[in-house]
């Protein structure tokens, strides 16, 4: 895993960059033209890189007074029609949750990068963690849909950043890019050849008939751009198709039902995962981020010993690719979940399987899980049958 991917050898624009810089470059390539942030380890390099690069492409960078304000400014910029992003780490991610919920409820596209570090509270700012898996899905109050992407390499941070903007625009939703301190500050060789993300679908047609939250079959309303003459209202209050607040039970149920189901209707666009040697596996390892990279090596170690071990790696973490996991582990007798927390991904895997043996390998010492430890656990699980 730590050598140059042979697939990159023939490509032109190879760069040695860190994960955080790859994120910034991916954002520029995706068309991001606004970034608001607040300094926090280990994500600050995303902001620093964009502070330099955004003015070069007529974009705007602003360092706000706090994490809450930076999330708010990003949503404000996006409401103005500009692709916008912020980046943070655990404590800042907690502070952003209220406005993240606003973006989900009012359906404002935006991208939020959360570089996971040790917790709880201030925790270990310079050490990796994967303990925000559940906060990324459930962090804000109330029910809401959200997309969370979990890249596992610097190259994937670059491509998933672009995909994050694409999904945010196509689905009118906040997208969280969730990775850990290790790949954030790891430098790898990357082909910077991805470009562009979906252009936002703007409202068109006569104003008199326009309802900002009325939708056709795809459940995703076109956004009115300020200045185009629609003069609509956007609110965090529960609203009807007109965009104005309502507490009418039927109108509330209609709009919220659409909101809650809109990502489910676009799973073919959103879903992304990787499987490795799962077809005949007795034990499937389910992991994300740096733990998945260690797991990949663990699969090699186990296979070399003749043990049938495979890897399932969600790239889109939420909505959780449960059907894909079920298919990958159909013949497996046990699933092993190595993660840098006390069992957040394991909880979701257990929910998916119900009766299958699901074991966790949990490390919260501030160190990354090493392949040998995963291989030992996987081997024990194959022997234990």
């Amino acid at each position: 895993m730590n050598v140059i991917d042979p697939r990159l050898a023939s490509k032109g624009a190879l760069k040695l960059v860190s994960g955080n810089h790859a994120c910034a470059l991916g954002a520029i390539a995706a068309g991001c033209r606004f970034f608001a942030g607040y300094p926090i380890t280990p994500s600050s390099e995303v902001a620093e890189r964009l502070a330099k690069q955004l003015p070069e492409v007529d974009g705007v960078f602003v360092q706000m007074e706090d994490e809450i304000a930076s999330m708010a400014a990003v949503i404000g910029a996006s409401m103005g029609g500009v692709k916008a992003m912020t980046a943070t780490s655990g404590p800042g991610f907690s502070l952003k949750q209220e406005n993240l919920g606003y973006a989900a409820g009012a359906e404002i596209p935006c991208v939020v990068v959360n570089v996971m570090r040790g917790g709880p509270s201030t925790g270990m700012p310079t050490r990796p963690s994967q303990a925000d898996i559940m906060q990324a899905r459930w962090g804000s109050h109330g029910d809401y849909p959200i997309i969370v992407l979990a890249p596992a390499s610097v190259a994937e941070i670059y491509s998933e950043t672009i995909r994050a903007f694409d999904l945010a625009e196509r689905c009118r939703t906040p997208v969280v890019l969730l990775y850990d301190q290790v790949i954030a500050q790891l430098s790898e060789t990357v082909a910077l050849d991805g470009a562009g993300s979906a252009t936002r679908t703007w409202a068109s047609g006569p104003r008199a008939e326009f309802k900002p939250y009325a939708t056709g079959m795809n459940a995703i309303p076109a956004m009115p751009r300020p200045g185009d003459g629609y003069r609509t209202h956007t609110t965090g209050l529960t609203h009807s198709e007109s965009g104005f607040p309502t507490q009418n039970p039927e109108a509330v149920t209609r709009n919220l039902s659409r909101l809650f189901s809109k990502l489910e209707r676009h799973r073919e666009l959103i879903d992304s995962c990787e499987t490795l040697a799962c077809e005949d596996a007795d034990v499937v390892i389910a992991a994300i981020g740096i733990s998945a990279r260690a797991a990949r090596r663990a699969v090699e170690i186990c296979r070399a010993k003749g043990l049938r071990v495979g890897l399932f790696r969600p790239i889109t973490l939420w909505p959780f690719p449960e059907e894909q996991l079920r298919a990958a582990a159909m013949n497996a007798r046990a699933v092993l979940v190595p993660e840098m927390n006390t069992g957040q991904l394991r909880l979701e895997v257990e929910r998916v399987f119900g009766d299958k043996t699901v074991e966790g390998l949990h490390l919260f010492s501030g160190e990354a899980i090493v392949p040998a430890d995963i291989a030992i656990c996987a081997e024990e699980l194959t022997r234990g049958m």
Partner: protein, 278 residues
């Protein structure tokens, strides 16, 4: 002097009729402030399509929904932060923030001082009624000393903020204050704020008759407004030393005005200069 404000300005052209009747209580001063804002917008011929109004949570926060413009009703305390993103991303829009004393000075206090310091072109209209009206009448950062609220049953023992002094200390390029009794003067003050090239902070002394007034036995709306009027020192009399003005009377009118560089334009200029040098 009597000014027939209804003859000079028809507010209905700037309101959303489908949102009427509005939800403000009888006697509330917020409607007067809203009318003054819309009158100022009308006088300045600001295109409604290019007008963006961002408001927070509370009674003042609900006003944006009544305005026929691009309106954004955001989270509690954060309208200035949302507006900062919107104004930076869309310098072609005219961005106005409507906020209340709790929204702006308590939960949103950090955003206010930094908006004053940053000096991005925004107009912030803070409606100060000394109380959290929407939630039933709790003490706010501007509640006068000894006043009764649902959370100060002993009378308020905390000193209150002078919002304009705070904005001036934080470096706001334009600061002004007016009472709802003086509607044409309020309109002119808001106009000056809207026309200011940087961050403009305008405090309107509003009245909450139903909750705050009732709790403190302050009489009806007219009596509350007249009490406010008798407690101010208009800018024309600012240097008057003797009676009838007292030292604790609140100065009104334009309190500060300077031409510090506007942040958005300064940023774009610096970016263009860097690109030119490259």
């Amino acid at each position: 002097m009597f000014i027939d404000t209804a003859a000079e300005f028809d507010v209905r052209a700037y309101l959303r009729p489908e949102m009427m009747p509005h939800f403000l209580c009888p006697g509330c001063g917020h409607g007067i402030a809203l009318r003054a804002l819309l009158w100022a917008i009308h006088d300045l011929k600001i295109d409604k399509d290019k007008l963006a109004v961002v408001s927070g949570i509370g009674c003042a926060g609900r006003l944006s929904a009544y305005i026929d413009a691009n309106t954004f009703h955001v989270t509690h305390g954060r309208p200035l932060a949302y507006a900062t993103g919107l104004a930076l991303a869309r310098p072609d829009l005219h961005v106005v923030v409507i906020t209340g004393d709790g929204d702006c000075l308590a939960i949103g206090g950090n955003h206010l001082i930094h908006a004053c310091r940053r000096n991005l072109k925004l107009t912030c209209l803070m409606l100060n009624n000394e109380v959290y009206g929407m939630t039933g009448g709790q003490v706010s950062p501007t509640t006068s000393e000894d006043r009764l609220t649902t959370t100060t049953p002993l009378g308020n023992q905390e000193p209150h903020f002078d919002a304009c002094a705070l904005a001036m200390a934080a470096g706001a390029g334009f600061v002004g204050r007016e009472v709802t009794h003086h509607v044409p003067k309020l309109k002119e003050l808001i106009k000056a704020g809207l026309a200011h090239p940087g961050f403009a902070f305008v405090e309107v002394l509003s009245d909450c008759t139903e909750i705050f007034g009732r709790k403190n036995d302050m009489g009806n709306s007219a009596e509350m407004v007249m009490r406010q009027k008798s407690g101010i020192r208009p800018s024309a009399y600012r240097d008057t030393v003797d009676t009838p003005f007292r030292p604790n009377h609140l100065p009104t009118g334009i309190l500060a005005k300077n031409d510090r560089p506007e942040y958005g334009a300064a940023y774009r200029r610096a970016a263009a200069a860097r690109k030119g040098a490259a």
